[in-house]
Symmetry: C2
Subunit: 277 residues, 2 copies
């Protein structure tokens, strides 16, 4: 089922600026037992992205109603929400009156082997670099050619994720995930001020870190820091937290910090679902 501006259809006008220019943003939300997981966090990030792109914020009550109507009968799925600047304007110039388009669609939940979460995944470094753009950094916008080109670099099913560096050789994120590493009990991740997407799951992990008063540093770091880490893990809203067991030739054990964060995530999601309306 796909709802476009509240109407069930799977087609959109080609004049939509989402199609013409990638002029919009999206959220990818886990659905469990008819409930969109971390919906509030997704809507907060969406709202922040809309503000940065100067797209009027969607009316939250209407949007939430539509999201629930799409996912209410689903046991396990992925809900994708796209907001674009709508139609109109002249070339890149936005229209004087902006009427955003909202698209809500439901997709099968990807069937990843449980071993990924338990024993870790294999990752590689991508050659495709992320451009630096402070105005767009952090936003989950619809301009995703860099990720597509990075993901097209490998076709080996034994490799689950690719790590993207920026043009200054700083590690930023995975093609579809954020990356953390642990060294001497300190948790590190990229600051994402110039590139990257501030994942909702990244925010949830930061919340656990704060609640449990763990030492945490957001900074610029390179490949070499990652390769000598005690633990490495990736995160996103759909996969949750996956340990990294191998980057190229370098192996990592599934560390205690990673397991602890996974445990808190399981507990927090149970709690969240129990609290749901």
């Amino acid at each position: 089922m796909i709802l476009i501006n509240g109407v069930e259809t799977d087609h959109i006008t080609v004049n939509d600026r989402g199609f013409q220019y990638g002029d919009g943003l999206f959220e990818t939300i886990e659905v469990v037992d008819g409930q969109p997981v971390f919906l509030e966090q997704h809507l907060i990030r969406l709202s922040s992205g809309c503000s940065k792109l100067n797209i009027p914020n969607p009316y939250i009550k209407q949007l939430t109603d539509e999201i629930y109507s799409v996912c209410k009968d689903s046991k396990k799925a992925v809900l994708k929400l796209i907001i674009t600047r709508g139609g109109g304007g002249r070339g890149y110039r936005q229209p004087e009156s902006i009427h955003p388009t909202r698209v809500i669609s439901l997709h099968p939940f990807p069937e990843h082997p449980p071993t990924y979460a338990k024993h870790g995944i294999n990752v590689r470094f991508c050659n495709t670099r992320l451009g630096l753009n402070p105005a767009l950094a952090g936003i989950k916008h619809l301009n995703r050619l860099e990720q597509i080109m990075a993901r097209a670099e490998w076709d080996d099913h034994a490799i689950q994720e690719g790590i993207m560096l920026d043009i200054n050789n700083h590690v930023i994120e995975g093609t579809m995930s954020n990356i953390f590493y642990v060294k001497s009990k300190i948790i590190y991740t990229a600051s994402l001020e110039l590139a990257g997407v501030t994942g909702v799951m990244r925010g949830v992990i930061k919340r656990f870190i704060a609640e449990h008063k763990l030492t945490f540093i957001e900074h610029d770091y390179g490949k070499e820091d990652l390769l000598v880490a005690d633990e490495v893990f990736v995160s996103n809203s759909i996969i949750g937290i996956w340990p990294v067991k191998q980057i190229g030739d370098v192996s990592f054990a599934v560390g205690n910090m990673t397991k602890q964060l996974q445990a808190w995530l399981v507990q927090f999601k149970k709690q969240g679902l129990a609290d749901a309306p």
Copy 2:
């Protein structure tokens, strides 16, 4: 009239990767007396972009037939051609078998006052920077949020174009045009190896420069080089060549080199249209 994969319709499936990720490219072509101007040059650039993005090249005979069928009755218009990677794939990963989408649409020709071409335009420097990405540089792809944010910076009708710098403070291009400057009879423009779009009109100008053995340098340059130039002009397929008469507080005369290039363009277009099938 809009043709999508040869069928007259104005709607596209939301699953198209052009809408989901900006996974595609486009051309904006001037139409005069039913003829697409510089069609060959547009198709060459499109083909080069498809190769770089690993999108199968469209079948040129079919595409050309469709383009002519859309524009044949138009006296003066803008034809927009979009090619996307089509539907399918899982997330950013492209599908194993790619079936590109082609969208051909006709739009009113923008009515710019003739004074822009004759006496020049006013431009400003934009704050929004272009990210650097060698893999995407040069391609007229569908990821255009940087241009949209730059164009949203001003709403003053007295200013016709904005100049975009990259994050290293090099001048790259206008929001919708390429930029050239002339100093001591040498013509300069940005090399566009890390950012920017290699405009079809830019290619036509380079051809004039080569044919007439003018001195031409593609290089990295800054604001200050532009501000002390003898002549500055911008170009694209729709506007042709416009002199710049003012950048902020700095004024420029409409120079002889700019006028010469404009004259060659008029002549070349007449010739091209006379040669058309």
